[in-house]
Point group: D2
Chain length 240, copies 4
């Protein structure tokens, strides 16, 4: 930052970024360390950011409200308390799915041939089943008939042209699992997001990063709601 | 959340939000508890979100890197550590400026008459000077000749039609201060953002909330950079 | 830390500290940057540390449980979420009381003369009443007939000889308030702890620091209880 | 908490705990959900609490200082930022060692016979070596000739009578590893602490919990030092 110029990811914030880049574009650029997204990639990032904004009462939103009760002067710390809960239990799927797909695709010799995808999928399923391990990205505790976000995400991934080998492999894994086990499991939105992130050239951790940003937005909403409509004291009174 | 439908701020996530709302629109809706922004307001929110993404080496980005060094399995906690530093020292200005303007505008009887703005501004300046208090939103430790983000933010606030009484009052305060003290202080970007947020019908804390989301995005970039290009161990070795 | 020697606050951890210093002694030494407590001061610190361990269901313990639900792999982050709530609302009293007493005692010319204490107390009460401000350290929302911890803390502060001008001034303030307002308010344990900390030569923030350590211990207990006897999922189910 | 009585872990805080229990006793009681330690166990806990207080410049202490720079009004959040880094990299050893020993001892049929310990140790070493895995609790990156805390901890564990099968097994593992690999690795203090915690009837996570409390005390010292002697701005200036 010189006196007159502010750089962000190597670009002039005032001349180049403000008013010209969307937040989604800037987020992708920050995640890649300076590489700008195509307009289609930026659109995909924007959709992913909207997909995981917290809704309703969640463990994170409750932690944020309860923290604000004790430290009303530190809204950032209340949000941080909510984010601390964005760990393996709810958000692990995205990262685990991406890591699984990344490993499988890296094992494939040469460029990934779409014809090779079913065989890769079978290998993933066999390995997981022989070890008695769950396959991340498949199944959802509540949306048994299919995660409603999945077809919408896939539709946009196709429209924007970002869907690639990782997305194809994830659906092939679901098929191979059904064929092998006779049990049909849905591709969940977290898993598909992990695949989409990979297909955009981002590392597995980027999916979790996007979810953390989404949660931060949801938790800002929670803080402002708690200020308008305090609930934490009532929650505490109810529970003690 | 029913089995087939996911609601976010009262809207169907899959049917209405994904692919149709930008992240900025959803953020505004989350902050207002369900009220959708106009397209112009959404654009303004998007610009504000891009304005405060962390750039370069900051105390928050350093805290994030150092936390990740000890807990590489918890990237969300590393981001939370960085956000915990988003307190009064760097981000207080936005909230303090908005609160000051809100108080002044609330004192004005009836609807705010733009002709009344200069008198309100003089009152703010007189009160602050008589108490020996700094006026939030004026001055910048580094950008002495003017915060370069300020004219760009104001340009977009005018284009989008969101600029209103709060923005006008802040510039009037800068003029009144110069007239009264003979010392010219720039309107800084944090202060103007506080005014813009008010003019969009949001509470003073919303400005800080937007900055927290921006920082979360910047810190996600920091985490991914630390994974590609580890620096925390080197920083520690240098400092101990 | 050399290869064979580990220093903590300037002392050899293995030769001098382990097995010889209590945790309370080490805590005082860490807070003063190397100055060792007398045995009496160490006993007082130990009692203060036990006084503020969280008990039962608190906003902090709930935030810790809810954070652990989402991130069971990060018990330290669950504890950090609970500590983030140790802000002004419950713990501010200790620091505010100490700061008030410190200011008053610093204003007194020369060494504090115990005979001057009543006059200092009257000044504090007059100033607060004329400004319509509450006096920190007086009153308790639940213990109307007296905070039961206060006489015990005072007894130990006398036994250990640490009670000094700050403690005396706080009780004098309670008397002056009763005389001036006709309304009797108890000296609460948080306020008295602030005074005790001052009388041990520590800054106002040390009281809050001790309370944070106590809370950390309570929250470790909460985490282990949540692991033995999970409650967070049930809390979430009940509230959503 | 009734109006006149405050319960902590089922005991009357004022009548039973304050002035009678040490902080170490209360910590053990909180960790077990109400079971009081013997005086010897309390002494061992006290020593463990002193062993892991942060000393010098650490990633956690740096994160705390940098967080305080941005949010000087939230010392608890600065401490929380430091604690967020108490993850797998530095503190994982304690928990991993305890879990390894616990599994091995649980596999042993009936009560653990001390004569069976060498065979259990060989099994642990064989399994780890055949999988190419490191054995937690052995080796130290800096203290190649032996972690100086280890003999002191063991001495106190013997004096207090808490040393049992887990401690014996850990040293037997070190012997078995040396016999099998020809390479001698020290038993480190973190690993031995994990064993001691098990031998006191606590779960593996209790060791990490004690370390988190110790770190909280060290970080309170860091916060007070930063207030007396600010370093964060200088650190930032040096690094950017």
């Amino acid at each position: 930052m010189s006196q007159d110029q502010i750089l962000v990811c190597g670009h002039d914030l005032v001349e180049d970024v403000m008013g010209q880049w969307s937040f989604a574009e800037l987020t992708y650029t920050a995640m890649t360390g300076g590489q700008r997204p195509t307009p289609e990639q930026a659109r995909m990032i924007d959709v992913l950011l909207t997909t995981f904004v917290d809704h309703g009462v969640t463990p994170s939103s409750l932690a944020t409200r309860l923290t604000l009760l004790g430290a009303p002067e530190s809204m950032q710390a209340a949000i941080a308390s909510g984010l601390n809960g964005a760990g393996s239990r709810y958000l692990g799927t995205m990262q685990l799915t991406a890591a699984l797909l990344q490993d499988a695709l890296a094992e494939a010799p040469g460029e990934v041939d779409l014809l090779a995808i079913p065989a890769l999928a079978e290998k993933i399923v066999e390995r997981a089943r022989s070890r008695g391990e769950k396959i991340p990205g498949l199944g959802h505790p509540e949306h048994k008939n299919g995660d409603p976000r999945t077809p919408k995400l896939m539709e946009i991934a196709r429209q924007t042209g970002v869907a690639g080998a990782a997305c194809a492999l994830l659906f092939a894994v679901a098929d191979a699992f059904a064929a092998s086990s006779g049990k049909s499991l849905v591709v969940n939105a977290a898993g598909l997001s992990g695949a989409i992130v990979l297909d955009m050239g981002l590392p597995p951790e980027a999916g979790k990063g996007l979810a953390v940003i989404s949660r931060a937005a949801g938790l800002v909403g929670t803080v402002l709601d708690e200020m308008r409509n305090p609930q934490a004291q009532g929650i505490w009174d109810e529970l003690r």
